[in-house]
């Protein structure tokens, strides 16, 4: 049963995931964390971090990892969890495969028509909102703690957020290197 809903969920994510990997994040987060509770916010954030550091598209990475972890968290063994990751990845890729084949077969001449362009023009600002929502949803106490609960961790977390935004956005430091710096800071300051 969980396999079926895993398949359905990632199929929907593949079908409605506009705006590339990042645009997809709020969909993946909404479905796996909020709706199905397969992952906690902290686990989801870890997946994003690991996806950033390993090769390949972030959508594929998250699907594989979510599929594995969701089945594993549900109390199944490793073998079933591997099957879960295959299910999620296949389901994510399937809509792309079908849609791209359909487009190259018959719709390529419609891609530049007025209605299709209007639809994409409407989607573009919404995808920016989706990405903003993914950012906001990750700003919670699982990732930052709270000023009441653990003021030290909260302060360090906010500083790391600001430092990473400045480093990657302004100084153009490679994101992977920035993740390594943040991990090192965590080891030193939050152990």
């Amino acid at each position: 049963m969980i396999f079926l809903s895993l398949f359905y969920t990632f199929f929907m994510i593949g079908l409605f995931g506009f705006g590339g990997g990042y645009g997809m994040l709020s969909l993946i987060q909404h479905e796996t964390v909020e709706t199905h509770h397969w992952l906690s916010t902290a686990e989801f954030t870890d997946i994003v971090a690991i996806s950033q550091m390993t090769p390949g598209p972030i959508g594929i990475n998250s699907a594989t990892y979510c599929g594995y972890t969701a089945i594993h968290n549900a109390g199944y063994g490793h073998l079933m969890a591997v099957l879960g990751s295959a299910t999620a990845t296949f389901a994510l890729v399937l809509p792309s495969l079908v849609l791209m084949i359909l487009i190259s077969r018959m719709f390529i001449k419609y891609m530049n028509t007025q209605p299709v362009r209007s639809i994409f023009a409407g989607l573009r600002p919404a995808v920016v909102g989706l990405l903003a929502a993914a950012t906001l949803l990750l700003c919670n106490k699982e990732n930052f703690s709270t000023p009441m609960e653990n003021p030290w961790q909260f302060f360090i977390s906010c500083a790391l957020l600001a430092a990473t935004a400045f480093g990657t956005g302004y100084l153009k430091i490679n994101p992977i290197r920035m993740i390594c710096y943040a991990g090192f800071a965590g080891l030193l300051l939050l152990y």
Partner: protein
Amino acid sequence: MNIYWDSFKTFFKIGIFTLGGGYAMIPLIEEEVVNKKQWVSKDEMLDLIAIAQSCPGVFAINIATFIGYKLKKTRGAIATTVGTALPSSLIILAIAIFFSQFKDNPYVAAIFRGIRPAVVALIAVPTFRMAQRAKIGWTNCWIPVVCALAIWLLGVSPIYIILIAALAGYLYGMFIKPTES
């Protein structure tokens, strides 16, 4: 050499060597597919990128499917798609198996407590970059703001946001400003 095997291998290689997601793949795909193998021309590649970007799904998979289909129809598309997805999938699977045993280790936990806030920033930065690319200004900045608040505060599914935005774009282009692209 068998064309299925060749295209699978090419996209497998592209899948292995791209850190940082789909857009980092474009130069590598161009080098392999346009310059070396000459499966598509440079102009076709530009069209492919435009279509793959506007369609849903993983960008790199969209490109791979497109080129595979152009080469050898549906079976070619399956070869290139599996080739692109397989390396990252296998690597992340190995990490998932490995990480599930180590995440309760206090050192690993501390490292990830540091990484998590950094990840939030890593998603925040492309938000602004994408806003520039989508030409968000004073007149239309309410759209992303409303979308983000609906998801964040009201828990609306992003799927509904996508559907509404597509419909609104269609109606706007149809009835309000038919000349705008």
